[in-house]
């Protein structure tokens, strides 16, 4: 952070000296006028320089009924003093160093998601944006990755307790309206602990896990904007590290419950260290060109080249077996060194042609090339062999992707526009083959044609309808579940029934099937939403918002049982989601209390029936022109029909003070 400030301060200082406009394209008279207006005062207002609000207070919750680990996984709100929110706007009266500063913050005081943002602007000088997030990732879910679930064991083998911190800062200088260089820095990292498995021959053992990874990114570029032409060129670099490790120093029997050749497998101690280091440079070039009023051209070229090297070592003690030779051994050691490189280039070209005022033709072409090449050297030493086994190999992944889309949008009437066109997607991928194939790699190809259509209807500012549909036909694709012969459609309707009442509806559907013998995949999903917003009398007394969504997902896919027989996997999920918020103010002028009641409920049936309810009530009582007291109640309740031990229920109460100016 100190380094960042040290980097940014000189730019701020430079920014102060860069307020004179460039003389290009302007007459001398205009230049003088512009110079005089270089720092024009904001039009006189009676508003104070500092406005905004701050919400702070205290939160408690009742004892968690049910699974506290799942509560932490899904809600995780803690108790104690909190800064619930901060929203400040500063408008400089002198505008010497800054015109405006906006500061937002939420969830400070140990909450699972703390955020802060600062935006500072001085017109024609600089824009500064700083963003920080600190988010807790906690995961303890017995139904997930738990091989002992059937026997009543409620300890997950894949859990973690991590904090991820993300920081972004961008400074854009605006010495002229045509030319603006910028520099940015961002980082994200995670630290914490967890539980994972150590997998070795024929058994796997739960072990404790330390997680520590971090990425840093620096980028800088320049943006040139002319009346008919624009160019942005950006260059950046990334640095990455991942220092995960696992360890255990007591005996674990693992997940295997049956002995091999009369011997039980077990683990007495183990350590693993991953030391991953990566870096890479990236380049971005964007351009737009408007040669004629009826033609817009734009394009982009993007290139990144991340590479990673890994040093891995592992030692383990216990009773292990080589399944190929049925030879048992008491210790093993693995040392691996590997590297991977991914030069990734992408390009796109876009054109918008307007042959008349009512017709637009849109053309876009996208190409993408992503090869990954890697190599590894692995040394394995077990107590069964006196000499280490040394192996080395390479791996690769190569993807080419191409996309062409042509569409026309025609304004049939001021209230109706129609859209139609087609898309063609093609490419190929060479990937590592399954070991049973007997080949190193296998090749997949993609060839898909899609018909596009849509309509936009606007009737007298009251009714807006948007229709969007795609019909795709695929000759070849990569996976059994990829979009094959599909139909996709979305309809959105918005109706302003009254000045105070608006109604919305949306319907979306996707039907995808791959009738190829041996695949026979069928996928159907639908979602329908209805919503309303009623604000009588300009929302001075009442506001009611609500929406309801019904969604369903069905898939069917044949698969082979271990016995060699074929069966069909059928997946069903039907979900109902409703939200409602009623907000009202009592009579009594500006010191009248305000009451809100509402919340959301999600209820699903099918393959994993779940219910999740989040009702709430809030009372706000103004104490003074600039202060109000608020209290809030929330309830969180999760119910799982098949995994009842994952359910929880709790009430959360907040009380606080809101200061506003």
């Amino acid at each position: 952070m100190k380094l960042l400030i040290a980097v940014l301060l000189p730019f701020l200082a430079v920014a102060q000296t860069a307020t004179q406009p460039a003389p290009a394209e302007q007459t001398k008279t205009e230049e003088k006028a512009a110079g005089k207006d270089a720092a024009p005062p904001v039009a006189a207002t009676t508003e104070p320089a500092l406005t905004g609000s701050v919400d702070f207070g205290f939160r408690v919750h009742t004892d968690i009924s049910g699974n506290a680990g799942v509560y932490r996984t899904t809600v995780n709100l803690g108790e104690g003093a909190k800064l619930f929110g901060l929203d400040l706007h500063y408008l400089s009266p002198t505008r010497k160093y800054v015109d405006r500063v906006n500061i937002f913050a939420t969830g400070w005081g140990g909450d699972p998601y703390s955020t802060a943002r600062l935006d500072a602007t001085k017109e024609r000088t600089y824009d500064l944006h700083i963003d920080y997030k600190n988010i807790a990732y906690f995961n303890f879910l017995p139904s997930f990755a738990n091989p002992f679930l059937a026997t009543g064991g409620l300890m997950t083998e894949r859990g973690y307790d991590i904090r991820r911190r993300m920081f972004d800062a961008e400074l854009r200088l605006r010495p002229t309206t045509r030319f603006s260089p910028y520099i940015a820095f961002s980082s994200d990292g995670g630290d914490g602990s967890g539980i994972t498995t150590f997998v070795t021959n024929s058994n796997e053992y739960p072990v404790s896990n330390n997680l520590h990874d971090g990425s840093r990114r620096v980028r800088g570029g320049v943006n040139v904007e002319l009346s008919k032409f624009h160019l942005t060129v950006e260059e950046g670099g990334t640095w990455f590290k991942d220092d995960d490790g696992t360890s255990i120093n007591h005996q674990e029997l693992g997940n295997r419950t049956t002995p091999i050749a009369g011997q039980a497998l077990f683990l007495n101690g183990e350590t693993q260290f991953y030391r991953v280091r990566g870096n890479g440079a990236f380049t971005k070039a964007l351009a737009t060109f408007t040669p004629f009023p009826w033609l817009d051209l734009s394009g982009q070229f993007l290139y990144s080249n991340p590479s990673v090297t890994t040093n891995y070592n592992n030692t383990a003690f216990g009773n292990f077996v080589d399944p190929a030779t049925l030879q048992f051994f008491a210790s093993q050691s693995n040392i691996a060194f590997s590297s991977a490189n991914q030069p990734h280039s992408s390009g796109a070209f876009y054109a918008e042609l307007r042959p008349s005022s009512r017709i637009r033709i849109l053309e876009s072409v996208t190409v993408d090339r992503l090869p990954v090449t890697s190599a590894q050297v692995l040394t394995q030493l077990t107590s069964a062999f006196t000499t280490p086994l040394l192996s080395s190999g390479t791996d690769s992944l190569r993807i080419t992707y191409n996309r062409n889309q042509t569409e026309a949008i025609v304004e049939i009437a001021p209230w109706l526009s129609l859209r139609g066109g087609f898309r063609n997607v093609w490419g190929d991928a060479r990937v590592r083959a399954p070991q049973v194939n007997g080949t190193d790699t296998e090749l997949g190809t993609l060839n898909q044609n899609v018909l596009l259509a849509g309509a936009m209807i606007r009737v007298a500012q009251k009714l807006r309808v948007t229709l969007d549909t795609e019909i795709g036909s695929t000759y070849k694709n990569y996976f059994r579940t990829s979009l094959h012969d599909y139909e996709k459609g979305t309809a959105r309707v918005r109706y302003q029934a009254l000045t105070s009442l608006s109604l919305t509806a949306s319907l979306s559907a996707l039907y995808n099937e791959n009738p190829t013998p041996g695949v026979n995949y069928d996928f159907r999903s639908r979602a329908a939403s209805l919503g309303f917003s009623w604000n009588p009398n300009n929302a001075k007394r009442y506001t009611i918002l609500g929406d309801y969504t019904l969604s369903s997902l069905k898939t069917s896919l044949p698969y082979f049982l271990p016995t060699g027989e074929s069966d069909v996997s059928r997946y069903r999920d039907n979900a109902n989601t409703a939200t409602l918020l009623f907000d009202c103010a009592a009579r009594g002028g500006k010191y009248a209390p305000r009451f809100s009641l509402g919340g959301s409920i999600f209820k699903s049936s099918g393959s994993r029936p779940s219910t999740y309810a989040q009702p709430m009530a809030r009372l706000s009582m103004p104490l003074h022109e600039h202060a109000s007291l608020f209290s809030e109640w929330r309830y969180y309740g999760l119910g799982e029909r098949y995994y009842q031990y994952e359910g929880f229920r709790t009430h959360v109460f907040m009380v606080g003070l809101r200061l506003a100016r």
């Binding site: 904001v42 998601y113 351009a287 993807i399 989601t577």
Partner: protein, 327 residues
């Protein structure tokens, strides 16, 4: 009917539609007097004889808008003589207002809030076309489905001095007005932290467009926006799991919300994995050639031990050590 024939038929439909639309476009527009020639440089002008009145005149009737506009970023248009609209910023977007001033009729002034999306975009892009944010705009759903600039941006409000309120809660509220069923997914128990206002839709999506489908943000030039926060999943890995690179994170994850604890697109992990890994791939066959065919007999799926694949395949996003993704 062969797929090639079906595809050809659909192409023929598309071409026929394009031809019909193009022919239609050559006919005069329904409104009398409207121009059929390419759009003019200036904002749409309902009356060619109208002249510029100046913002002070506008203030006379639209005092609230005038005050809010002073704290909006577009106020620079009003005070910066270099931009050519000094003291007539209102008319930079609304067109010459003299006729409207005389008649006081809404019909005599161009109102972007009531105009077709294409015309609104052209008004805004008069100044903003040649900017980085608009590269990829026409490939995105917003640009194609008639969501105009004023659908999201406010030129009049002074709140936070921005043309779009940057607070996560406000952004999410704005997006939800059209994407209600997407917001409903965030009411599921396992989701990204949008309802708590720790994140907003634009953290993952670029509403202006871009090179990725579904307006997904890119980082490091052309890498998926997901790795901005999930850097440990970025790779490149010595042994890649191909779907991650081929179809992206959403091949397995439902980022908006799921009943699955890891936000998977199926409620249990095995159902997701086995959709690809419980069948033989027909290598090099004409139409059935798909990747990832794995014979099922290697694991006894009747045993609880093999029902959660990531118990052993812990490096499912890619591994730097083991080709079976177990370390």
């Amino acid at each position: 009917m062969s797929p090639v024939f079906k595809a050809s038929l659909r192409y023929a439909w598309a071409l026929a539609l394009l031809t019909a639309l193009t022919v239609f476009a050559q006919t005069p527009p329904p409104e009398k007097g409207a121009a059929a020639t390419p759009p003019p440089e200036a904002a749409p002008d309902p009356n060619a004889k109208a002249t510029y009145a100046g913002s002070d005149i506008c203030q006379g009737c639209h005092e609230d808008i005038f005050k809010g506009f002073q704290r909006n970023r577009h106020h620079a248009v009003e005070i910066d003589k270099k931009r050519g609209w000094s003291e007539k910023a209102c008319e930079a977007c609304h067109g010459p207002a003299s006729k409207h001033v005389e008649s006081m009729s809404a019909a005599d002034i161009f109102n972007p809030a009531k105009a077709p999306a294409g015309k609104v975009d052209q008004t805004c892009l008069k100044c903003h076309a040649n900017q980085a944010t608009h590269v990829g705009r026409i490939q995105g759903g917003h640009g194609r489905n008639g969501v105009s600039c004023v659908g999201c941006h406010s030129m009049h409000k002074g709140e936070s001095a921005s043309i779009v309120n940057a607070k996560p809660a406000k952004i999410n509220e704005l997006c939800t007005q059209c994407h209600a069923s997407t917001w409903a997914q965030f009411q599921k128990p396992f989701k990204h932290r949008l309802p708590e206002n720790a994140m907003s839709c634009v953290d993952c999506h670029n509403p202006h467009g871009g090179i990725r489908p579904k307006l997904i943000q890119s980082v490091n030039a052309n890498e998926p926006g997901c790795i901005k926060c999930h850097g440990d999943k970025r790779g490149p890995f010595t042994f890649e799991h191909a779907p991650v690179k081929l179809e992206g994170c959403s091949a397995c994850h439902e980022p908006h919300g799921s009943a699955n604890p890891r936000m998977l697109v199926r409620h249990e992990e095995r159902f997701l994995c086995l959709e690809c890994h419980a069948n033989f791939g027909a290598v090099n066959a004409a139409k059935t050639s798909t990747l990832g065919g794995i014979p099922p007999a290697f694991h006894d799926l009747r045993s609880a031990r093999f029902r959660n694949c990531s118990v052993c395949h812990i490096k499912v996003h890619g591994s730097n050590v083991d080709r079976t993704l177990t370390r």
